[in-house]
Amino acid sequence: MTSKRVVAPYVLILPSFVLAAMIVIWPINELAQIASHSVNRFGQLRDFVGMANFGALLDDPNFIASLWRTGIWTLGVVGGAIVCSVPVALVLNEDFYGRDLARVIVMLPWAVSLTMTAIVWRWALSGESGMLNSALMELGLIDQNIQWLAEASTAFPMQILIGILVTIPFTVTILLGGLASIPDDLYEAAALEGAGSWEQFRHITLPLIAPFLNIALVLNTIYVFNSFPIIWAMTQGGPANSTDILVTYLYKVGFRLGKLGEASAVSLVMFGILLVFTLIYVRLTMSRRAGA
């Protein structure tokens, strides 16, 4: 029995490990190879070029612009989603008529593929016949059609808004988990001591959901940083690359321009950034477990 106990877990884990490793380790190795060699259009590796592909990236103004825009995108979407999710989670944690329906509605964007969401919004935002323009006209909020997707100055903020909308369900889910873990008697005790609802929120709710907020923050940062379909299906990074973020830049460079070397270099840069996020996440969960 003892010897079996030692072997069994490894046997049980092996198939999942092999499958997961295959789609992670092989491609990463491949990326490292391509990024450090010159590659012709047909994908054959030529000479070893060291960091030249990375150097080419730094010389490309579109890469630098995409890098900055990725920062704005990630901060905007994650920040916006957290700011909207806290009140929504607090409300959904209350007992009120129609709460189940409200929960379903808030969670709904999660069920729909980002591609479909983006395609529907692309249509809704269309300049001449889009239903957002006609709704805003009817409400008297605008008096002429706005060409939402024709310029980065309106397209990118709209994409961030849609990003926020689809990020809220996950964030609310995590926060609801946090709120459910707070015992009711804490509030009762605070109310007895005469604490108002703002003080209760400030001194009980906020500190106790802080670890959940942190985790939502880090996980969302990772997901949003990687998010491809919203921008790709709405503008494909256009007009004139003005809404490109790293992922759409990577896809264009790799599969439109056929520069696999540079695309792999972008992947590795992203991999590095993601690794930092992951380490932050691990530290957060570790410190929570040590604290608990």
Partner: protein
Amino acid sequence: MNWVKLRRSLLCWLVLSPIVVTTIFPFAVMLITALKPNTEVLTPAWWPSRIAWENFQTMWVATNFGNALRNSLYVSVLATLGSLIVSIPAAYAMTRFDFRGREFYRQFLLVTQMLSPIVLVVGLFRLMVALGLIDSINAVTVVYAAFNIAFSVWMLQSYFATIPLDLEEAAWMEGAGRTKALVKVFLPLAVPAVVVTAIFTFINAWNEFVIALTLLRSQDSYTLPIQIFSLVSGRYTVEWHHVMAATFAATIPVAIAFAWLQRYLVRGLALGAVK
């Protein structure tokens, strides 16, 4: 009727109203456009003059919907099964055994979860080229199964941990072997967790975009998201009523399943993500 609760309910709905409106807006756009007669699609009025149910029929043929639906079902069902078959034993090992490398495996799964397909897509593309599997929906299926392992193990593990060990131990006492106890005692209790995990894996696979976009090259092998995307991208005229009808048909069944199951997700994620 309780007046305090009623007042509170009104207030709650008032606070939620902006997000409720923005959430429902795209669904309304989708449904209304799908039901507009095709002569009215480009006129900027909200309501159609009559409801054009026939759009769904013409869409089915014009967009090759049936074929894409079949591909999507095939890929999603097999990816779900594949991912479960390897994840259930792994999750069981993670909850029931204390072994060296357990923490390493946890971190490894975490890393695979962090690396979205998009970061690896160039490498995956090269891998599939090398294996001669470009345009193969089976290859896409395997990749989906693999990318869902971390999530599945995570979800399953959080539920498995709530199944008391005593029950299995009692079965051992009565002379059942470990395997028999597993099959007769543990697995029946784990069925709800497995079903919930399966449905979420299915939804992930059903909605995936970038891998399918990269690996699938011919119309015949397109899954629904790619098929619908191909109706919109790089075209001079887009038949929006067909696109919206297709989006609606591809989205609503999954959305209903999700709405029904989301409370389990709340529980599973809260257990798995934070503990």
